[in-house]
């Protein structure tokens, strides 16, 4: 990404991302959790804005109560003490495809202005410059989870005008088309980056900057995306992480600073 100085605000840009993302889970009943940041985000939300949030993992776990920060979506700490463990067939068929999943986190190597995501390949599919992991469950999660929250660090090469490959569908750019899809999911609801937070415009489905994180500027945003960003007329500032949010992240959720440093 274009160099954006790390402002000395008493917290890292990653901590800001985590706190802002967790607030997006207010009111959520359950969340399909990915590994890494979404995992901390969900655990933070469980302790702040969504006390009854049930953690769902594509590995087949519903209602996980991890005693330690899971190292992957298949950590044994997710199984012990969970509410239910099911086959992956049932997790995807009976929970996800059936429309029981409220919120899911997705990310990717590339995102476009409509929230379409690429986790498959950089360059041509048959002659890849970089071979990425592929869909995993992302393709069906994007279609069936009622709300999609995207958490991604921002850079010109990842916020692109045109994806090299569309792994997971976002908005189409035609809201009438989107409404007629008949999917459970309403597509991406928000994008949280290390620079700001975005919503999606109801009329066009386009990503729209809603708040800048403290210390970030519109120029920082422009320098780190491949299209001219749409900006909310009410552009505001993201509230900084609270002391309690920072305490939870640093002392309880990621004491070794693996993810949040």
């Amino acid at each position: 990404m274009s160099a954006v100085a790390e402002p000395d605000l008493g917290y890292s840009r990653t901590e800001m991302m985590i706190a802002a993302s967790a607030r997006g889970l207010e009111g959520a009943t359950n969340c399909f959790v990915g590994v890494g940041l979404p995992n901390i985000v969900c655990n933070l939300a469980q302790r702040t804005v969504a006390l009854d949030l049930q953690l769902v993992y594509e590995s087949g776990v519903f209602g996980a109560k991890p005693e330690r920060l899971p190292l992957s979506i298949g950590d044994p700490t997710l199984a012990t003490g969970a509410t239910a463990i099911t086959s992956m067939f049932e997790l995807f068929a009976f929970y996800l495809q059936a429309g029981l999943i409220d919120v899911a986190f997705l990310g990717g190597a590339q995102i476009d202005r409509f929230g379409n995501l690429n986790t498959t390949v950089i360059g041509p599919y048959d002659a890849p410059k970089v071979r990425l992991p592929g869909s995993g469950g992302a393709c069906e999660i994007a279609i069936h989870a009622r709300h999609i929250l995207v958490i991604m660090r921002q850079a010109e090469r990842s916020f692109v005008d045109r994806l090299d490959f569309r792994t997971s569908p976002g908005h189409s750019g035609d809201p009438a088309h989107d409404a007629a899809r008949g999917w459970h999911g309403t597509g991406p609801t928000s994008v949280v980056t290390d620079l700001g937070t975005y919503g999606f415009d109801d009329a066009t489905g386009e990503m729209t900057l809603i708040t800048l994180h403290p210390g970030m500027t519109l120029d920082d945003v422009r320098a780190n995306m491949g299209w001219e960003p749409k900006v909310s007329p009410d552009l505001g500032e993201t509230p900084a992480p609270t002391p309690e949010e920072l305490r939870l992240i640093r002392e309880e959720l990621d004491p070794r600073g693996v993810y949040a440093k």
């Binding site: 009943t29 359950n30 009854d52 049930q54 776990v61 519903f62 209602g63 109560k65 005693e67 330690r68 950590d75 044994p76 700490t77 199984a79 012990t80 003490g81 969970a82 509410t83 239910a84 463990i85 049932e90 068929a93 009976f94 929970y95 495809q97 059936a98 429309g99 029981l100 459970h184």
Partner: protein, 306 residues
């Protein structure tokens, strides 16, 4: 998590509406007779009753006047013979006709799977050279998208307005654990628009979390939890009580005669207020006689990863 625990009376009053499609599932095991009796008692009307095996419970409900249609795959008193009240409605329209829609067992199971999975159809290799599809236009042939020579049949999803399933134990959120025969309890629960879990015991959430692989139905699909011991009688609950086979045999006699049946319904359903009255009327000795010996599962270690 707020508690969903309620009484059978309130759960039926809240969840079951006239005209609904209702599935009380449980394949020989865990058939929730108590819920059926409460539906009769509350004089619900015009229900479509779905069940793989209508069993004695639907014979009672059909006789009780709650149903206008049956969806099923095997219509009998298992190990005994016929369901006489249902047969009278089908064969003689006595006292009125009963619409039927029938499948094979696998077809019914796959209807629930499709309903639980939000699939518009489910393909199975069945019904070949059988007359069943000729009397049920919902069962359609199709060829495989990969190979025109390969034919399967498809069944449509079944999404009951209300699914009622019994479990040995559940917590107050509705996370339910079942052992022994599973039937299609899970599929019926996930397929239901509204779901009632009845159980022998409401237990602490910690009991459920000790053995998460045992959880068959998660609370996220459950609307009401009712604790009702012996609610499956004369069916059984593995490890809790045996099938009351004498009653299944008795029912054959009771149901053959409409008047005897009406008397039975009055005495055992309408004149009782709750399943607790039913338990008391049978008496403690009856329940004691149905208790099995012990056959413990042993424990496994999930490991503590802290």
């Amino acid at each position: 998590m707020s508690s969903k625990v309620t009484t059978m009376r309130d759960a039926v009053a809240d969840l079951v509406r006239d005209g609904d499609t209702v599935a009380i599932e449980g394949f020989t095991h865990l058939i929730c007779f108590a819920a059926g009796h409460e539906i009769i008692r509350q004089r619900k009307r015009d229900l479509t009753l779905a069940r793989m095996t209508p069993d004695v419970i639907y014979d009672q409900m059909v006789a009780g006047g709650v149903a206008s249609k049956l969806i099923f795959s095997w219509l009998g008193n298992p190990g005994v013979g016929s369901l006489h009240a249902i047969r009278r409605r089908i064969e003689d329209h006595d006292p009125e006709p009963l619409e039927i829609e029938e499948y094979s067992h696998f077809g019914m199971v796959c209807r629930y799977v499709a309903g639980a999975s939000n699939l518009p159809f489910f393909p199975i290799r069945s019904y070949y050279e059988s007359d069943i599809p000729t009397v049920n236009p919902k069962i359609l042939p199709m060829t495989s998208p990969y190979d025109d020579a390969t034919e399967v049949y498809v069944v449509p999803p079944l999404r009951p307005n209300v699914s009622i399933v019994h479990a040995q134990r559940a917590d107050a959120s509705g996370d339910a654990q079942i052992w022994g025969l599973l039937g299609c309890q899970k599929e019926a629960a996930f397929a239901g628009e509204r779901v009632m879990v009845v159980c022998e015991e409401v237990v602490e959430e910690s009991v459920i979390r000790q053995d998460p692989n045992r959880t068959v139905i998660p609370g996220v699909v459950v609307d009401a939890v009712v604790e009702e011991p012996f609610a499956c009688h004369p069916s059984f609950a593995q490890g809790y009580y045996d099938r009351d086979n004498a009653f299944y045999l008795q029912w054959d006699r009771i149901a053959r005669d409409p008047e005897t049946l009406a008397t039975w319904l009055k005495e055992w359903v309408f004149d009782l207020g709750t399943h607790a009255d039913y338990r008391e009327k049978w008496g403690a000795a009856h329940w004691d006689a149905l208790r099995p010996g012990d056959a413990m599962s042993g424990e496994v270690n999930y490991g503590r990863y802290a």
